[in-house]
Amino acid sequence: MEDTEKIVEEAVKEAEAASDSRALYEVKMKFLGRTGKVTALLKGMREIAAELRPAFGKKVNELREALEAKFAAREESLKRKEMEEKLAGENLDVTMPGRRRAAGALHPVTRVKNQLIDIFAGMGFEVYEGPEIESDYYNFTALNTPADHPARDMQDTFYVTEEFLLRTQTSAGQIRVMEHKKPPIKVLSPGRVFRSDDDATHSPMFHQMEGLVVDKGITLCDLQGMLDEFARVMFSETSKTRLRPSYFPFTEPSVEVDVSCAACGGKGCSLCKGTGWIEVLGAGMVNRRVLENCGIDPEEYTGFAFGMGIERIAMLKYGINNIKLLTENDVRFLKQFQE
């Protein structure tokens, strides 16, 4: 058995020389394979005297185990080396631009509408959408604006027939809601409205968002509190509102609501024309006659309503300077409103 030491020495030498796992495999086969040197030793056992065989067998086994360990160690180190080499070859320029899937976007009016709904939904408002072609009754008469009322001149109405018209205000939805639902009511009514007005600052179609609250003990203070919260979320954490007297046939008292200019913080700038305030919406306490028209007892319930132009809010929020851009649908414009 003078060979074993030599065999180990030889195997280690050849294993070290193997430059990759494939070469190592061949070395392994040369010693441990079916025709390998160690296998040959085992095969030669028959020629050895019987009393020497156990000792011989043990020695060969030890030799085999020793070789297997050596090969395994060598294999391990080769694999590591190969992985390192492979990774070194896969060097990416991580500063190259990423590849993006081209997504579209929702229209800014939809975006702002969703934001408004989010704000008021959290306060317990439901959303109701009424028809865009309305009857004169819902758009005017039920809103305390009978046929000879001068307030009808406040809005230029598109008529379809004597009785039907394109709604001029989402307030029409108020009546439809109150006819079917009894207080407590908190409802938002967004949608398209139409006025026969087409110039640099007016569009014959735009979107309004109407809000209505009817319950016991609702006051003007509640109206301002809610609008303050709206202004803070929509514009800036420090936004404030200001009420000033106005007139709408379906509210009494009626107010115009200004929001402190978010661009200058109320100091006065070109956006707010130096006043520090921006006119944002109209509001008021629901007129008692409107409640009566809907079968709600004005002695028991009070409420407030507010209405705002969604385009106006979007224009203020994003600094869009021309209302017409919102209906041109130029993709370069729309692209900027991606999520």
Partner: protein, 802 residues
């Protein structure tokens, strides 16, 4: 409405600046849209006396004058004007002054005219921006010559000619017609400044007359009050400067003293008036009646109108003499030789005036006031005021004959309320003294009931807008100040559940699905042009042509409510391409309006519809990918069949079906229409009936346990005739074998080898083991499925394995 500050000051003492007054009016509900400093462009112009006139040494047409400008000293001014003379009092624009010149502002500087120094310029009326109504002589051709008694040397010219004033342009809300006059605004200002109102003089001394001019009102509802008065010994002349100046400030030209008085009272009290020449009133009486059909009248502006019984007419015994509330008739107008006048101050119903004014297209200061509402108490006061002015101006003698046909209730409305009620609406505690003080300042008669503590409030007759305690609450808070409101957050309200309904959430999701597919949401007007139907080649009887039409559209292009969203989408694409956006995708989700009957007898069906447009890059299948994404997102089983639409490519059009129901279509824009619109690249369009789709939207997620054993995929390629569609092959595969769950086309191949009119289609079939299966699908079982499928394809579609 224009209100000159000087006129306002006639009735109320104003101790604050014009800007302060503007702010106070603003917080009380009167927005001053524009506050104009009159004569702000005329500066540095003073009164001067010409002491010496000499001919210019080198210019025949120029005169060199020495002028005494009082505290500004003596100036030498060269002028080309020919009406100057020694001793004349003239406006002198000194060095640095500004005057008006050809619509702009001219700056005056010291200079030399033909070598002679000139330290300023004499001004004409035009350069000061005035006419004769402001200052007599302003319209002469030459320099304005001032009257001795009007000016002090060196005095600012604006004080002399009536330009030293402010003009308030006030937006009066529709509920306050009582403020459509100087006196009406003065009443508000007096309340705001807490000073007394000085009411204009109404007294006059009537002369006796035997003349009677009876008035008959046949339509009391349309004419609730008619006050008339007879004035005799009229001598028509010119109004005094002060009166003409007032009218001019409000943009009304002086005509003659009698007519000016009616206009003055209109501006002062908001009461339209009319003056008839009594000698032309046939039969010497007035009848207020509806016009007969076809009856004609020529108004003061010489326009002839043919009337209907809708129009109220003021008549004499025989014919119309005034279009009630709108304009007088030419046949009875005041002429230079008029000697007897019958004044009218009436209330005509606002709706009647409005209808007639709209129908005839005839408007006036008078009709504008009646349309907003004139209260029934004012005609009588306005008449007295007019008669006072006749006497003051000396242009006639008011007689003792007056008539008043009253069909309105002049008892003041009484509103009973208390502070608690008002404060409950406002949400704050306004002290009772304050409530009473505010209302009293606004001339409400407040009486506190000693027994129950209620406030019994008499409403002034001119406040027809006030009819309940909520109106009083508004009066209180707008005077007390909105800054007293303490923002609260629904302290007493019930908690309610808010948020979107499932349907509303799904709509938003639908939009988001399309946006994620690369489409931008568009927003178009709901109306479009009727010519679009021709562009899209709709046949004459196509349902799309049955559109709801707007009676008073902005223009023909915006006159019909959309019945399809395709035309506006095409406009968007054309605009984008023209602006260099060579490719893109848009969608819109909006209503189309479908009428049961035209003209409308009931509200039309507003059907929510989705349109998708794709142009430039991408093809039919990119668009179809979008509809597939929708189907996937909402669990819809949409199928596609070849179809046709008049505006789509005949070979590239698919009808989209949900079950048996057609829910939309998609395809390529017809190349002919594309050429017409100059669209060079292909355009693909899709329209889906959103409402029909939404009815079948999966309500919630349907869960199924995953199979224990894996699916097995197997590819099949078959050669079929060209006309065989992918859908047919797929359906054939899925029908042949229950285990085949899906068959997806991944390749189509054509070649000469396959033969003409043949194609090879390759599909990947997914087989799933039965849910209850105990073992995975064996290769042998899949072979069996495969052969069954192949057999079916051969039998049904004549397919051959490739």
């Amino acid at each position: 409405m224009l209100i000159p500050l000087c006129w306002l000051k006639d009735y109320v003492e104003i101790g604050v600046s014009a800007e302060e007054l503007q702010n106070k009016l603003f917080s009380c509900g009167f927005e001053v849209e524009e506050l104009t400093r009159l004569g702000k462009d005329v500066t540095g112009v003073v009164a001067g006396r010409i002491t010496k006139c000499e001919k210019h040494p080198d210019a025949d047409r120029l005169t060199v004058c020495k002028v005494d400008c009082g505290k500004y000293g003596e100036k030498q001014i060269c002028t080309a004007a020919t009406n100057v003379f020694e001793g004349a009092l003239v406006p002198c624009a000194l060095d640095g002054a500004t005057v008006l010149h050809e619509g702009g502002i001219q700056k005056i500087k010291n200079g030399k005219l033909r070598g002679v120094a000139s330290e300023g310029m004499f001004c004409s009326g035009e350069e000061l921006g005035i006419n004769d109504d402001f200052y007599d002589g302003a319209e002469v051709n030459g320099i304005l010559i001032l009257r001795e008694e009007d000016a002090v040397l060196g005095q600012d010219i604006r004080e002399i000619v009536g330009l030293d004033d402010w003009l308030f342009d006030i937006a009066v809300t529709a509920n306050r017609p009582d403020c459509q006059s100087v006196l009406g605004m003065a009443r508000e200002v007096a309340a705001i400044l807490r000073t007394p109102l000085k009411f204009p003089a109404l007294d006059f001394t009537p002369v006796k007359t035997d003349v009677k001019i009876p008035v008959t009102v046949k339509e009391p509802a349309l004419c609730p009050r008619y006050v008339g008065h007879f004035v005799t010994d009229v001598k028509i002349g010119r109004s005094p400067q002060w009166l003409r100046r007032r009218l001019a400030l409000c943009g009304i030209r002086s005509i003659s003293d009698i007519v000016d008085i009616t206009n003055f009272v209109l501006l002062e009290m908001g009461q339209p008036m009319h003056a008839f020449d009594r000698s032309y009133l046939r039969g010497g009486e007035i009848v207020v009646r509806r016009a007969e059909a076809g009856e004609k009248i020529v108004t003061l502006d010489e326009k002839e109108f043919t009337l209907t019984p809708e129009n109220l007419l003021v008549c004499d015994r025989e014919r119309g003499v005034a279009l009630a509330g709108i304009m007088g008739g030419l046949n009875s107008e005041i002429k230079p030789d008029t000697t007897e006048v019958f004044f009218e101050a009436a209330k005509f119903a606002r709706d009647s005036v409005r209808k007639t004014s709209r129908a005839l297209g005839q408007r006036s200061e008078s009709s504008a006031r009646f349309e907003k509402g004139v209260d029934a108490s004012t005609p009588e006061i306005a008449m007295k005021r007019a008669l006072h002015l006749v006497e003051e101006l000396g242009c006639g003698k008011p007689t003792d004959y007056g008539t008043d046909v009253l069909n309105a209730d002049l008892t003041p409305k009484i509103v009973t309320t208390d502070c608690a009620q008002i404060n409950a609406l406002l949400g704050i505690e306004v002290p009772e003294e304050e409530v009473i003080a505010v209302l009293t300042r606004l001339q409400f008669a407040v009486h506190k009931d000693g027994k129950n503590g209620k406030l019994v409030v008499g409403v002034p007759l001119w406040r027809e807008d006030v009819d309940g305690w909520a109106d009083l609450a508004e009066e209180v808070i707008r005077s007390y100040g909105y800054e007293h409101i303490q923002p609260a957050f629904l302290e007493n309200a019930t908690v309610t559940r808010g948020g979107l309904t499932t349907a509303q959430k799904q709509e938003l999701k639908f939009k988001n699905v399309l946006a994620r597919q690369g489409f931008y949401e568009a927003c178009n007007y709901s109306f479009s042009s009727p010519r679009d139907f021709d562009l899209l080649r709709f046949p004459a009887d196509a349902p799309e042509r049955r559109a709801v039409t707007i009676r008073n559209p902005i223009g023909e292009d915006l006159s019909v409510m959309r019945t399809t969203l395709i035309p506006t989408m095409l406009q968007n694409i054309v605009r984008n391409v023209r602006r260099g956006n060579e490719s893109g995708g848009l969608f819109e989700l909006a209503n189309v309006f479908l009428a049961e009957e035209l003209p409308l007898k009931a509200l039309p069906d507003e059907r929510k519809t989705c349109v998708i447009g794709l142009w430039g890059e991408g093809d039919f299948f990119d668009l179809k990918g979008a509809t597939e994404a929708i189907a996937e997102a909402f669990g819809l089983n949409l199928t596609y069949e070849k179809g046709s639409k008049p505006f789509l490519h005949p070979g590239i059009t698919a009808i989209v079906k949900l079950g048996e129901k057609e829910v939309g279509y998609l395809g390529e824009l017809h190349p002919e229409i594309a050429a017409e619109l100059a669209l060079e690249k292909k355009v693909y369009l899709c329209e889906l009936d959103y409402r029909a789709l939404s009815k079948k939207f999966a309500k919630d997620i349907t869960y199924r346990n995953p199979n224990k054993f894996p699916d097995v995929e197997r590819d099949i390629a078959v050669v079929v005739a060209e006309e065989v569609t992918c859908a047919q092959v797929r359906e054939c595969i899925l029908h042949a074998c229950k285990a085949a769950k899906e068959a997806e086309l991944f390749d189509v191949y054509r070649s000469d080898k396959l033969g003409k009119e043949k194609k090879s289609m390759a599909l990947r079939i997914t087989f799933s083991p039965d849910e209850k299966a105990e073992k995975p699908l064996s290769p042998e079982a899949v072979d069996g499925f495969f052969n069954k499928i192949l057999g079916n394809l051969k039998y049904k579609l004549g397919a051959e394995l490739r």
